[in-house]
Symmetry: C2
């Protein structure tokens, strides 16, 4: 009942995670505002909120726009700060855009909160990618921060900014370091945001799933419902303030195993091992999966969705709706 | 002999460290170029190179200026990248400038190297401040990065950028995390760069040295000659490539003890305990000193200057030359 009548802003609210979060919040009676610039190449899609669009306030503006923030932030009680550039390779090809969104934009958002709404609660979606190539597995929150690419560097900087505003200016901040999050509503057009989203597209098109290297890299995955549950806990529980929590999946699988399971859902396509493209190899982090015992012990969160079931549901969703995710915006 | 005839660029070369480094390099027969914008409030001072000005190429331009970098970087063999905003309180009052110099400027420098001179060797002067309030003492390189203020955040980001360009683009990078560095040529006008510099000014003016809190905070200090020795090793030894080294002092002293020693050099002034100003308390890191065993074991560096002797020499220097450091530039 914590969220009933609460005024909640979701930045990046038209993406996979933000839209599911908005739906949950609307169902709980929150007053939801979404700020999303629908940037090309990113995860935002109006189809993701087709069923709740009349029940949220929607601002199609950018977190880099001071006037947009000045208009959205006053009056809010909680901000789920999900807006970001998430593509690793994209960040190497265009460091400047990654930097403007994940560093300058975050600074602007936090400064606006400090100026106009300093008692706000903020949940920031970071990424386990800031840990880079793991020195040990599973990762935990204490693993050194050693980002491999511009996206990891800038997300780490965004975390430090949030922590500074918590410590120095008293904003109530919780940081979640997400792992691979998947589900209905994810970007599938290309591999810019998520290789898994792109695999689902290829699966539906009957194209073999490309696996870089030998496919032995281990990963974990969170279904979007589990991720949303973690966000809701982080935004409501008093003991979460000032904390950083790493999420993790219920199962650790190799990319090869993941491709086998996915391709088992159809009779076509299969998968193919291909050499690592050089530009990806240079920023590859190898095997990576997380120890979520901190958030399990402190907030009682654990991932509930079975990976096979979650993947099946996601593939089924795109079997019905993929055309809404393959229209190229200009 | 490593540096004889080497083409060396020093960014921030008119500051305390850069100017001493330039002098040593000139003496070893290097071809030295200095890039320094002489920004007000920073450490650059032409008086610092009065004896070698005719033997270096001097560019009074900014690392944020792409044309300046395009003009300086080609042809160099080693860059000692010392340019930076170093004031912690200043970074809280003006995060944007700190960010432009310590993040955007560093990115621009590294991009210029990648484009125009990708076999370059770079030594980057970082700070032990990126570790924030120590979880254990002495600090070492493995201590978590948890910066407390904008300056610490942006210097950490600068480190990550340097490491990325090393790993992905093959620049040969060594990072030194400096502790408090002092010596003839440091800024003494105010406490914006170094409280110790300001204390020296107050000492000469007969004003009591202000100690925040109880003065129990422990610190270590490097005389600039020791710091320069570490830079020269970092720029020449093959095993230093790709490494991060923390520096540290030969002695750990409390701020109260430091004030006692300094005020013992004159018969006037003394010192005074005063309450911590709120804006400094919020970003104070408490006691902080470093374990320099990594650079000692790998490169054979250790601080040689006795603290008392180094302080005495520094006070004597300003007794003779303080007027060159107290002229307010517009």
């Amino acid at each position: 009942m914590h969220y009933a009548h609460k005024k909640v802003l979701i930045t990046g609210g038209l993406g996979l995670i933000g839209s599911h979060l908005a739906r949950r919040l609307v169902a709980m009676g929150a007053q939801v505002t979404i700020l999303d610039a629908l940037l090309p190449g990113h995860g935002g899609n109006l189809f993701n909120i087709r069923d709740i669009q009349s029940q949220v306030a929607l601002h199609l503006r950018d977190i880099r726009d001071p006037l947009a923030l000045d208009g959205c932030i006053p009056g809010q009680e909680i901000v789920f700060n999900l807006a970001g550039q998430t593509g690793h390779l994209a960040s190497m090809l265009d460091p400047q855009s990654d930097f403007e969104i994940n560093v300058s934009g975050q600074y602007l958002l936090l400064e606006t909160c400090r100026r106009l709404n300093p008692t706000l609660r903020i949940v920031f979606s970071s990424t386990r990618q800031i840990h880079g190539r793991p020195r040990y597995l599973p990762l935990n929150e204490d693993h050194p921060v050693q980002p491999m690419d511009f996206n990891g560097i800038h997300k780490a900087t965004g975390e430090y900014y949030h922590q500074l505003y918590q410590r120095v200016y008293g904003l109530e901040v919780t940081i979640l370091r997400l792992t691979n999050t998947y589900g209905p509503g994810m970007r599938i057009m290309d591999a810019g945001q998520s290789f898994l989203g792109h695999w689902i597209r290829l699966l539906l098109e009957g194209v073999p799933l490309p696996i870089f290297g030998d496919g032995g890299q281990l990963r974990d995955f969170n279904h979007v419902d589990d991720c949303v549950e973690a966000l809701l806990l982080a935004g409501s529980r008093p003991e979460a303030v000032g904390k950083v929590y790493l999420l993790g999946g219920s199962e650790v699988v190799s990319l090869l195993e993941l491709a086998r399971r996915l391709s088992g859902f159809t009779s076509r396509g299969g998968y193919a091992l291909i050499p690592f493209p050089g530009e990806r190899k240079r920023i590859d982090i190898g095997s990576c999966y997380g120890d979520f015992s901190a958030i399990a012990n402190e907030l009682g969160w654990r991932p509930k969705m079975d990976l096979n079931q979650g993947l099946q549901m996601t593939v089924d969703y795109y079997g019905a709706y993929s055309h809404h995710y393959l229209q190229r915006r200009t």
